[in-house]
């Protein structure tokens, strides 16, 4: 049930929010009301209520959208209600949907978490709306069930790959690797040069999820080798253990660990400490999601200029592509009474004005999923490198946006591989057992 754990962890663990606008008091008050269950569900008082999670990133983006929209429409009042992230947030969203107590609009994950909301029974189908035409097909795949379309994207595309230290690469004369062997050669060069850990891993308190990146961010390479991987995997026909391209993610982690490329304190380092180690040049490669850039910007804005990004390399240098994660979306629950006002806001979000507002009010960490939207020229180097994968069309969604099957124990299993407790082959078959439980729980065919 936690397909987007890396993304969600970042959202849930964000630093305390600091909205500059006057919306703070309103937000805080409505958050209190939401928790006590006193808030009104529909738009009966003429105000548009929107439920969002309490992460820094979502808050910035939504506040920017609301400010721009109310400036253009002074007669509309919008209130943002906060909810916690993580599994507690999932519970609130599910409960309020079931009881018809959901505000006019709400922000939530796309992909398999959306499917768990039973969207055909709870959400309004937006497929017929004209403003959905400019939403890119990649994103539509993540918010559709059958022919129905449910969400309007808020925020930027996220890439899963390797954040790296630009200064170290320059100093050692290294090139961005396009194959796994090149990556390992770079690691060896960094190790030989001394003073820096080639690969940062962080298995400390609350950070075990970071160990999954070698497996999850390898999906582009898996799909390159096995185009029908996602369907066959969902249908219980192919598995990690018996598909060499899929097992490679586990093997890569084992290789890196066995070669002694990991930072010495990998077992106790936390996610935030790992980012700090990367920024300080103590480690060179950190396999991570690009959402980490928001985190780095919040703590050490200057460090962003020294950090680059490349996709997790596979076997084919000519087809070195990126595994991507989709941002969350705004959804319209069926319980909303005044759907006209809500849809007008959605139309604004799904427009170039909408993404310009987001660009103005929040940090841009990747391209938008709205056609015609542009990313400013002066983005940090890592964002520019992320953008280039999208420009050249070398992207594929992470497995969790293609299949509802994700086992809950992956992070423990990958921690064991990285720590040398379990071999890659053993880990792959153990994970196949783990996902079986999830598939059975979802009642999928063939399990």
């Amino acid at each position: 049930m936690f397909p987007t754990r890396p993304l969600r962890r970042t959202a849930a663990g964000a630093t305390p929010h600091m909205y500059s606008s006057a919306g703070v008091a309103v937000v805080a008050l409505s958050a209190g009301l939401a928790l006590t269950g006193c808030s009104t569900g529909g738009g009966d008082d003429g105000t548009l209520n929107i439920l969002i999670d309490n992460s820094e990133a979502t808050g910035q983006l939504m506040q920017a959208l609301v400010d721009a929209y109310t400036e253009a429409n002074p007669d509309v009042e919008i209130e943002l209600e906060l909810r916690p992230g993580g599994s507690e947030g999932d519970n609130i969203v599910k409960t309020r949907l079931q009881t018809g107590d959901m505000p006019d609009l709400f922000f939530y994950n796309s992909g398999s978490l959306l499917q768990a909301l039973a969207p055909d029974q709870t959400l309004v189908d937006l497929a017929g709306e004209s403003y959905m035409d400019v939403v890119t097909d990649t994103f539509k795949d993540g918010v559709s069930a059958g022919d129905a379309l449910y969400g309007v994207p808020v925020g930027h595309a996220v890439g899963g790959g390797v954040l790296y230290d630009l200064a170290a690469y320059e100093e050692l004369g290294l090139e961005v690797p396009t194959t796994w062997d090149e990556f390992m050669a770079n690691n060896q060069a960094i190790l030989d040069a001394g003073g820096r850990a080639p690969v940062i891993q962080t298995y400390g308190t609350e950070s075990a999820w970071t160990s999954q990146l070698f497996v999850l961010a390898d999906n582009y390479n898996v799909l390159a080798a096995e185009p029908d991987w996602a369907e066959a995997y969902t249908a219980n026909e192919k598995h990690f253990a018996d598909t060499p391209a899929a097992a490679a993610g586990f093997e890569h982690l084992q290789e890196v660990a066995e070669a002694g490329y990991l930072n010495e304190d990998f077992a106790s380092l936390t996610y935030n400490e790992g980012l700090a180690a990367l920024a300080a040049g103590e480690g060179v490669h950190y396999p991570m999601l690009t959402t980490a850039l928001t985190e780095i910007e919040a703590t050490d804005p200057d460090a962003l200029d020294g950090i680059g990004f490349f996709a997790l390399p596979g076997t084919d240098a000519a087809n070195a592509g990126l595994t991507t994660w989709l941002p969350g979306a705004l959804y319209l629950p069926q319980s909303t009474e005044d759907q006209g006002a809500a849809k007008d806001f959605l139309a604004f979000v799904a427009s170039t004005e909408g993404c310009d507002a987001q660009t103005a009010g929040a940090s841009v960490i990747g391209p938008y999923f709205i056609e015609g939207c542009t990313v400013p020229e002066d983005v940090p180097p890592a964002v520019a490198q992320l953008q280039s994968y999208f420009d050249s069309g070398l992207t594929a969604p992470a497995l969790e946006f293609l299949s509802p099957v994700k086992g809950p124990a992956l992070e423990q299993i990958t921690v064991e591989v990285g720590s040398g407790i379990r071999t890659a082959a053993d880990a792959a078959s153990l994970y196949d057992e783990d996902v079986k439980k999830q598939a059975q729980q979802l009642g999928l065919e063939g399990w």
């Binding site: 049930m1 936690f2 599994s87 599910k94 768990a116 039973a118 298995y203 308190t205 609350e206 075990a208 010495e264 304190d265 077992a267 106790s268 809950p408 124990a409 423990q412 299993i413 921690v415 064991e416 720590s419 407790i421 379990r422 153990l430 057992e433 439980k437 999830q438 059975q440 729980q441 979802l442 009642g443």
Partner: protein
């Protein structure tokens, strides 16, 4: 009536004549039934189902088969026994020694007693977080102190072979105060005449400990074993606060495995785990409790 009552054995008298009508039990019985019996029976049912938001599906013993067949679930079972026996054993030994020490004529006895008892009062999660910091392999106070003596301290919580033992030691640190308290009560309750008589007979202090204190502390020992073993087998909060069962699955116990299954939405499987844990604790404790109390009666 009064004559028959005095003639009857005490046991029977209690059964026949109660001062209060039976329905006085009702309020407590309802609370107990609704909050304890009903959920317990319900969880026995749900343990046999695959349970999600849309409903339950009866799947027989599949959850139990799964629970015992998965390597890391089974590992949790083994760890639970190791953890329970280790913490219980250490609490008995250390608690007894501390109690004997703290009832002897020493300076600042009252102060030392409160020092020993103090960790029991602190929140478990707080203790867990504090010791996680103290036991950090690099910056932790424990390893820095060891480094002063030239000892290269291990990764207490990050070394797969040490993590569970480290958590168990913290559990002992936190729980030994209660064991000591029970033992102190036991030592103080021993009549001084025995010690005086032994002293007159020329018994050394070691002999007095061996032949007077230890045998007469059996009830206290039974209480400490029962309490700490139940606590150890069910232990969850400290392990979750310190390692979350990690690194990997190496310090998982049954309770943390159950919690993870619940988090993942496998409610049926986690109910099955709870039933297994309930049966294990009962299978362990009922005979043990019976045996320990029997010995007490025999004396």
């Amino acid at each position: 009536m009064a004559t028959t009552a005095t003639a009857a054995p005490p046991r029977r008298r209690r059964g026949h004549r109660s001062h209060y009508p039976l329905w006085f039990y009702l309020p407590a019985g309802v609370v107990y039934g609704v909050l304890f019996i009903a959920p317990t029976i319900a969880s026995f049912y749900f343990a046999f189902t695959r349970w999600n938001l849309s409903g339950t599906e009866f799947i027989g013993f599949e959850n139990f088969a799964l629970f015992f067949s998965e390597p890391y679930l089974f590992q949790g079972l083994v760890n639970t026994f190791v953890y329970g026996v280790l913490t219980s054993g250490l609490k008995v030994v250390l608690g007894l020694l501390l109690a004997v020490f703290l009832t002897s004529q020493i300076i600042a006895r009252g102060y030392l007693r409160s020092v020993v008892f103090f960790p029991t009062l602190v929140s478990t999660v707080g203790v867990g977080i504090t010791f996680t910091v103290l036991m950090d392999p690099g910056d932790g106070l424990v390893n820095q102190a060891l480094a002063l003596f030239g000892v290269d301290g291990p990764g207490w919580l990050t070394d797969p072979s040490l993590a569970l033992i480290s958590v168990a030691l913290v559990d002992v640190w936190k729980g030994v105060g209660l064991a000591t308290l029970i033992y102190i009560a036991g030592v103080v309750a021993i009549p001084q005449e025995y010690f005086e008589a032994a002293r007159v007979d020329g018994a050394t202090s070691a002999q007095r400990l061996r032949h007077i204190t230890l045998p007469l502390m059996r009830p206290a020992t039974a209480t400490v074993i029962v309490l700490s073993l139940i606590g150890g087998l069910r232990s969850f909060d400290l392990i979750w606060a310190m390692t979350q069962g990690g690194p990997g699955f190496t310090s998982d116990v049954v309770a943390s495995v159950i919690f993870k299954q619940y988090q993942a939405g496998f409610w049926g499987l986690s109910s099955a785990g709870n039933v297994v844990l309930f049966l294990i604790v009962a299978a362990f404790m009922v005979p043990l409790y019976w045996k320990l109390n029997r010995k007490e009666v025999d004396r």
